[in-house]
Amino acid sequence: MALEVQTLESAVVRFAGDSGDGMQLTGSQFTNSTALSGNDLATFPDFPAEIRAPVGTTFGVSAFQINFGATSIKTVGDQPDVLVAMNPAALKVNLSNLRKGGMLVLDEGSFTTRNLQKAGYADNPAEGDTLDGYQVIKLDISKMTMEAVKEFGLGNKEALRCKNMWTLGLMLWMYTRKRQPVIDWLEKKFAKKPEIANANIAALNAGHAYGETSELSAHIHQYEVEPVHAEPGIYRTVTGSQALSWGIAAGGELSGLEIMFGSYPITPASPILHTLSGMKELGIVTFQAEDEIAAICAALGASYAGALGVTSSSGPGIALKTEALGLAISTELPLVVINSQRGGPSTGLPTKTEQSDLYQAIYGRNGDAPMPVVATRSPGDCFEVAIEACRLAVKYMTPVMLLTDGFIANAAEPWKLPDLDAIEPFPASQAKTPEGDEAFNPFLRDEETLARNWGVPGVKGTEHRIGGIEKSYDTGHISYDPANHQKMTDTRFAKIDGIAGDIPDQVVDQGEDSGTLAVVGWGSTYGPIEEAVKRARADGLSVSHIHLRYLNPFPKNLENLLGGFDKILVPEMNNGQLKTVLRDKFLLDAKPFTQVSGLPFKIGDLLSAIRAEIAS
């Protein structure tokens, strides 16, 4: 007799297995079904640095975590409630993180001597008392899958590949999610190989049926998570890389400029190159350059020619672009530079997340070389921020640095589709053939924005020469004059600082606009901070969350706003970089709370830090 269905507020499930076990697919299909059930959610694909590490090793473990709920979900969850471990290595790597008392689903069939050895287990943990304190479900998933797909006559290896669908079926049952979207997807994906599609569907159904019919249902609850109360609209799930790419495309359409995207592959920035390369329909030129320098140079060349150049990389590649960025600043051409941050320094931890390139973004150039810096906070937010980067670049004739990170790039969340027609366009203005004999001056400035006059090749009468040498304020020609250099330096700063007047005032994301403690964050720490502040406030603490999108210049009300708090805590996944900028600009005693482990913050850790700061 089945137990009744329990209703949950939210749940965290982590799928873990060998790189070859298809955990990323399992996770994203579970995500999809969950999204279609109307839950809010956040995901964290956590794959190994190796392309295909040897089977069964701990460093070859690939995992996918999802947090979903009936209320707003901001993080992937500190600790899974359920861990699915498809082999001993997956158990080894992930067990320590499972919530005490949490559920553990193990594929017993993979706990062979050889696999145990590879994972570094002397004894079989599935048998001893290692797993005491967890709710353990041992199943021979491998065997049951083979059984389920027998009729399709697949080879051994191919048949075993369906294991993940069996598991997915079970989990869909457990959380009362629909199978149909997965079935649809399988049929589409394997349209040309129906036997594979059918085998996978059979495995999925078998896993589901196992839950429903087996004894399992006698001592395991089935759960239900109610749909979240979300704004009306059409939704889909979106990853940061997708939303960012679409935002860039939108930026091109809104400015009326062709996008010329120059890039060089690098983890975790490559998905943007891939996404945009698949969007040629929109008149986007993508160029895989010979290196990052050529990538930014080609983008800048395109901007010079009248397009909107965009380039994208991660830390080491952005470092290489530094010199050319200086040229973009000096020639005052529009350019969007996307940095998908990863663990550093140097090659660092390419597949792990970090936000340690803020110094580089704000300060990391030779000469006095100011440029706007904006940051994304979540996958969906990437869309808006990308558009904003394009807007600032075009309106102010300047390169703009857009900071995102490896976590955001790969994570997915439900996203309400924007109404593209409702977004205010920002048509670029390019110089026209001058009337009469008027000389064309490329450095004539718009009085309000201080943006220079964008003359583009192909237009008669605006022929001109520019370059990286200092230019005369009055004519745009080369000038070595001392007073002019001062004036141009001042103007370059004034132009960027002036953007503060053209961006929204900083809002308080949660809490009052003054009080004891302001927790100030930027980037992908948004979720954990939001959640930690929520809990702190629930405990009655006077704490507010302020999350910055604009890092240079800061919104003009920020100084005042922060001044209204007794204390400022700045949690960052770096050694304290935003803290430096805040202290410099506002002379406020901003306290850093840092974590440089390649992983997102845990809510619990943030909460402790908030408590400690308030108590101090």
Partner: protein, 341 residues
């Protein structure tokens, strides 16, 4: 692209001369190249508005300032990459890249390799003075071994890079050479380079009167030139010399080109190799010619073999063929969606 199709009045050298004072050393070979370009562009039917000069950094790279066209004086070594972006964004532009032996072959070598490999439709002019002029005379990758400079007071020891061999090794399909003083020859080379669809690579031997004077003396001096230059013409035997009695043959034993004298060792005019600018093998051998004493330096179009595809067209073609098939809205709605009411 408003003005671009308007029929042009006939332009002259003045129309291509900017109002900026030219700032090379008096006597620098760059002046002659500049004048020649200003003179040749009208003959090509070029317009100011559709012509872009992109350069790196170096004395030679100041060239764009003096042309009354669009000009981009960029950063050291990166002109080919920037020019690639210009051309990809606006294929209708005539894009000239101006670079030096340091700018193009030292720091910028890789961008040159890839612009050439991709066969981007650029006209690349490399001013080879075998020295770093702008930074006051250090040796460059093309400096001959033993060159004494501030950074090599005992003479350089690095083997020299041959620009022609380098370009061909990168997959160049148009390679030519001329020299700053050759005011008749240079325009023809410019015209050929301009007409070529794809990356045209032109080495211009250029005299730096201050730091490396007279290195091309044998080639440019009227007296010695005939014996030291091999003026190439497609389909014509490769004969040279003051008395037009020297020629080039291919020696099948040594498997290399060789200088012979017509009339000696029973060599006749008929034995002389005929220049075939479409032959990659011949081009490679001609690229080496002049390295050994007694050998003349080939001048003119060494290699020209247009590809049947165009890189820029192909890139934009992929875009054009897809254009309009989906809109951004379609893409965004492309995944599985659900409705919250």
């Amino acid at each position: 692209m408003n003005e671009m199709t308007t029929p042009q009045e006939k332009l002259t050298i003045k129309d291509f001369t900017s109002d900026q004072e030219v700032r090379w050393c008096p006597g620098c070979g760059d002046y002659a190249i500049l004048k020649c370009m200003q003179r040749t562009l009208p003959e090509l039917g070029a317009t100011r508005e559709n012509t872009v000069f992109v350069s790196g950094i170096g004395c030679s790279s100041r060239f764009p300032y003096y042309m009354d066209t669009y000009g981009f004086h960029t950063i050291h070594g990166r002109a080919p990459a920037i020019a690639t972006g210009v051309k990809l964004a606006k294929p209708e532009l005539d894009v000239w890249v101006i670079t030096g032996d340091g700018d193009g072959l030292s720091i910028g070598g890789n961008h040159l390799v890839h612009a050439i490999r991709r066969d981007v439709d650029l006209n690349i002019l490399l001013f080879n003075n075998q020295i770093y002029g702008l930074t006051k005379g250090q040796y460059s990758p093309t400096s001959v071994v033993g060159t004494k400079t501030p950074s090599t007071p005992q003479g350089s020891v690095d083997p020299t890079l041959n620009p022609i061999a380098f370009a061909l090794g990168s997959g160049a399909r148009f390679v030519a050479r001329t020299v700053d003083t050759a005011q008749k020859h240079m325009p023809d080379v410019f015209k050929r380079a301009h007409a070529f669809k794809g990356a045209s690579f032109v080495e211009i031997l250029q005299n730096c009167i201050v730091y490396n004077d007279a290195i091309w003396e044998e080639i440019t001096n009227k007296k010695t030139a005939p014996d030291h230059q091999l003026l190439l013409e497609h389909g014509t035997p490769m004969i040279f010399g003051a008395e037009r009695n020297k020629g080039i043959i291919f020696n099948t034993k040594s498997f290399a080109l060789e200088v012979v004298t017509i009339g000696e060792n029973s060599v006749t005019e008929g034995d002389i190799l005929v220049h075939d600018e479409t032959s990659l093998q011949m081009a490679r051998m001609l690229g080496d010619l002049g390295e050994k004493p007694g050998e003349p330096a080939p001048m003119g179009v060494i290699y020209a073999s247009e590809a049947d595809h165009s890189y820029v067209d192909a890139v934009r073609g992929q875009m054009d063929s897809e254009k309009g098939k989906r809109t951004l809205k379609d893409i965004i709605r492309g995944g599985q969606t659900w409705v919250v009411e």
